[in-house]
Symmetry: D2
Subunit: 137 residues, 4 copies
């Protein structure tokens, strides 16, 4: 399976990314760009987008990028910095960049921008390569 087939397979089973309304914009080995629109049911107690929503978007693009080479990789340590409030109806785009590709461990950063191209969140994550291969069912 190539990078796009793997990411499409992941997305098909990823019911939470579907609930988020994630669309895949672009993929390449070690890379993905995705987007979603913030809905009113996604707010926190301050009436702005819950931090878990932007984290989830980043976590999905990170999973797609890190699995796209063909080996199954699982997240072990991730962090996010919230830079600006995100509001209902904002359209978020998340882009994953590979910082390092080791045998067992791979490191990515993800930038999330809103529709005005302002950075709203910044994420980094490390995956562990389980060595299992993504295969057609």
């Amino acid at each position: 399976m190539n990078h796009r087939e793997i990411i499409d397979t992941m997305m098909e089973g990823d019911l939470f990314s579907q609930w988020l309304g994630i669309e895949i914009l672009e993929t390449a080995p070690g890379y993905a760009r995705i987007s979603m629109k913030v809905r009113s049911e996604m707010v926190n107690g301050f009436g702005i987008c819950h931090g878990g929503i932007s984290f989830s978007l980043a976590d999905s693009v990170f999973a797609f990028a890190s699995n796209s080479y063909g080996e199954q990789c699982v997240s072990i340590d991730t962090s996010i910095n919230h830079l600006r409030p995100i509001r209902v109806d904002d359209i978020l785009t998340a882009t994953s960049l590979e910082i390092n590709k080791g045998k067992s461990l791979r490191l990515y950063e993800v930038t999330i921008c809103n529709q005005k191209n302002e950075k709203v969140a910044w994420f980094k994550g490390t995956v562990f390569n389980t060595g299992k291969i993504w295969e057609r069912n």
Copy 2:
């Protein structure tokens, strides 16, 4: 408003925590314990609970604990370590502990356990105290 009134007010407006099915188990100044049950719509492309779900649970309890003194606090830097796979129907309990309470910055750790009392995730987060006071509408 006391800690419980603040957290109840936050929860009332927090539509995403409501979607998650979060229940508040216990609160005190600087402290909260909450729980939720993982539903099938919360899985990722591996068929296990999406990392964004456990993050969101931790982020909510962290927000409740850090806001409970009365001043509005916003998250600036958070990270999570995923320790064990979380599965559909697992019942997760998240407990927030205060590591440090400064004037402008406060640091918390959150432990998430499943129904077998196994640690499944571990989170830390820093909030910035905006100085605004939680008040009745």
Copy 3:
């Protein structure tokens, strides 16, 4: 080699921990407590202890604790929160606690206190277990 022999062997080769003046106070499998005194050559441009010094102290106790079971473990992701300024002549004690012990990955937190028992820094770290065994030369 038992936990103490491993940590003593590590300390013997650890010339930077020796430069820091680190003393080992207590060890157990998965646990260590160490201390050091801040010297005037350890300050940064603000005239207080350089963040790299408190990080190094935490990183050493984390390495000792995570290697103490017998397998060689290497640091992959660590973070530190600076909570209070540390000054020249402060005596710092760093205590490492195990959060999780997986096969490949282990997670620790470290608390650093000064001589007044105030928390001055808080650290977390993940190691990767290489599987190599600590052995006598």
Copy 4:
């Protein structure tokens, strides 16, 4: 004071950066690039460069970059990923990039490369702007 004067003033008082042998290669508002050579007294119990050394290098360039606008900024949360072993006699170059510049909070990433231009470590850090201005004594 301009960016270079501030960084020179910081470096003058920064006795630990001097011990590390740090040289300032380039500065601009919000930016700095520095280097150092790893000495034999900087190794850990594995005989490779102690993680605290690469952290300290990153922490210094992060402090220089974030203070270079004129306001005194203090580190609140930093993390580092170690990507490749660093050995004695390696020459390390650390480059700081600004991810976000808020009023109270600023976010930076730092990449450390060795003399072969291989990434050996990757760092991110948040500072809090105290509002105090860097001034000539």
